[in-house]
């Protein structure tokens, strides 16, 4: 049940994408998101989706994982596309149909479809990053990419450490929650039936032990870190130093070309 949450989940493998430098993947994802919003026409979005499909194939991640990652945000996609459907008015266009206060223009349909595809590409694209990169490596990359901000006294290392710890504890807390839920279910807890108030009340026996154990864990971790003389990022060296390789350069070239092509559709075929 809780294990179905796939956001931030790692899908171990040994493909080109898995081995690619995490900084490149991180920057590539940011670039991809930017390009998604530059490309405004069906051709651009289509290209972006095709590129993503190719990447999933290269990473050997089954397409059903995309569906899994989309499941939790499906309501948001539906909500925004419905809003677009009814509130975008086409200038000078004849309405497709109108009923009561609702009027749908072809322009609205176009916006709704493009926007949902865009959000889908966005989620699937960012999921690909976490699927192919373990969280620890990812925060390393983030720290390395953000390092220039350190000059402005921005606590880059601390932020990265906090993220690493938070990500590290998600699976632990999920496991813990399942254990506690099982223990209370074994004592006859009813978690998924009853009125809203009853359900909220049924959560107390799960949340109280969960919070207590999370606080205990946090305090244990702090003590353990202090025992090993942790004192922040200054002068700290790494066990695994990130280095760009020739494969990374090749990946970067492919990525830049693809992103440029997707972005270019905006100006090359403006009439679409």
């Amino acid at each position: 049940m809780l294990r179905d949450i796939t956001i931030g989940q790692h899908f171990p493998g040994d493909s080109v994408l898995h081995r690619c430098d995490p900084r490149l993947k991180l920057l590539g994802t940011v670039g991809y998101i930017a390009v998604l919003f530059v490309a405004g026409n069906p051709l651009g979005i289509g290209l972006a989706l095709a590129f993503l499909a190719a990447l999933y194939a290269a990473a050997r991640i089954p397409y059903k994982m995309i569906l899994k990652s989309l499941k939790p945000i499906l309501p948001i996609i539906l909500f925004t596309s419905v809003l677009n459907l009814f509130f975008v008015s086409g200038q000078g266009q004849a309405p497709l149909f109108s009923w009561w206060v609702f009027t749908v223009y072809p322009q609205g349909v176009r916006y709704a479809v493009l926007l949902s595809l865009r959000v889908i590409a966005l989620i699937a694209g960012t999921s690909l990053l976490t699927y192919t990169t373990s969280p620890i490596v990812l925060t390393d990359a983030l720290e390395s990419v953000l390092r220039p901000l350190g000059r402005l006294h921005f606590p880059v290392h601390e932020l990265a450490m906090m993220m690493t710890i938070a990500l590290r504890f998600i699976p632990t807390l999920i496991e813990e929650t399942e254990k506690i839920m099982n223990a209370q279910k074994a004592r006859g807890a009813l978690l998924d039936t009853g009125t809203v108030l009853q359900r909220v009340k049924a959560l107390v026996p799960i949340l109280v032990p969960l919070f207590i154990s999370a606080f205990n864990r946090a305090s244990d971790l702090a003590v353990a870190m202090e025992c090993r003389c942790y004192r922040g990022g200054e002068g700290r060296t790494r066990l695994k130093v990130l280095r760009y390789t020739r494969t990374d350069a090749l990946c970067a070239a492919v990525l830049v070309l693809a992103l440029a092509a997707i972005a270019a559709t905006r100006w090359l075929v403006p009439g679409l």
Binding site: F11, E176, A183, R187, G188, A189, L190
Partner: protein, 296 residues
């Protein structure tokens, strides 16, 4: 008497279809008679915890059947909750499930979920607290101020208070000092003897199993390796050692003695029985020597 637990060809797979798919249980079949005290033993990762989660309907078998009191709990129309009240499960480190303001309220959580009257709930809380050796003064205190061993006993009382027909305990003594260990385990034995409840005790410790259980279920890499009386299982000590399990220290001593050529039985697994066996062997030796009374 009909068997209270019947497991038929149970198979359970974790993360089916993912790269990290693992078979946790494979073709597990056994039965437990009403009133038995069964020890469940196996190396880490042999499937003990997965198995007992099935007895309580927390895991759904990938294939195979789990019958409690002759009824299949996953059959359509069966109420899973009824089975959970029938089979009480005490998980590993159960003190983490405590949440109420007082121990009494926490013990009452299970019985209350059963929909019993307040008077009945109060009676059961008192009864379970007595079985778990918790005195009245303790019941009104917050569970979070208690020691680890006391918390553990509150949690066990919380399951006993549901008066299940089968009590399943997963490593109830894990992480306790030797005294706390003996207290909890002998309380469980007393509970078993006084109420006649069927008990399944999961443990790593062969000593504990030998001391308290009548029968032993040995799991090894997702399968049932042995299921027999304590005597019969410890008689196969070399096999147990091959499965990565230990036998009680006293049994190891006797195994070595037999290897050294002494005419002695090796089915010794408690110290008092060991003393008796040694005395018997000495007496036999003296008889054989006949007149040589001054021989050592």
């Amino acid at each position: 008497m009909p068997d209270i637990i019947q497991i038929e060809h149970l198979r359970y797979v974790y993360n089916a279809g993912m790269p990290d798919e693992t078979v946790a249980l494979d073709d597990v079949s056994f039965t437990v008679g009403e009133g038995d005290f069964v020890g469940v033993i196996g190396a880490t990762g042999s499937g003990k915890s997965t198995l007992i989660a099935h007895l309580n309907g927390l895991n759904r078998p990938t294939s195979g059947r789990v019958l409690i009191d002759g009824r299949d709990m996953w059959q359509k129309g069966e109420d899973l909750r009824a089975f959970r009240f029938l089979v009480g499960l005490v998980m590993q480190y159960p003190e983490y499930q405590l949440f109420e303001e007082t121990c009494a309220a926490d013990i009452a959580y299970g019985p209350r979920n059963m929909g019993l009257s307040e008077a009945e709930v109060a009676a059961r809380v008192r009864e379970a607290a007595a079985f778990a050796g918790l005195d009245e003064a303790l019941l009104q205190r917050s569970p979070f101020e208690l020691s680890g061993g006391q918390k553990r006993r509150v949690a066990i009382a919380g399951v006993m208070a549901m008066r299940p027909r089968v009590l399943v305990l997963d490593e109830p003594a894990a992480g306790l000092d030797p005294e706390g260990r003996d207290t909890i385990l002998s309380q469980i034995r007393d509970y078993h003897q006084k109420t006649g409840t069927t008990v399944l005790l999961v443990s790593h410790s062969m000593e504990d199993i030998a001391k308290y259980a009548d029968r032993v279920l040995v799991l090894s890499s997702a399968r049932v390796a042995m299921y027999d009386t304590v005597e019969a299982v410890f008689d196969r000590a070399p096999e147990l050692l091959r499965l990565g399990l230990s036998v009680p220290q006293i049994t190891q001593v006797f195994l070595r003695l037999r290897e050294m050529g002494l005419d002695i039985t090796a089915d010794v697994y408690t110290v008092p029985y060991a003393v008796k066996t040694v005395q018997k062997a000495l007496a036999a030796k003296q008889q054989r020597k006949g007149g040589a009374a001054d021989a050592p």
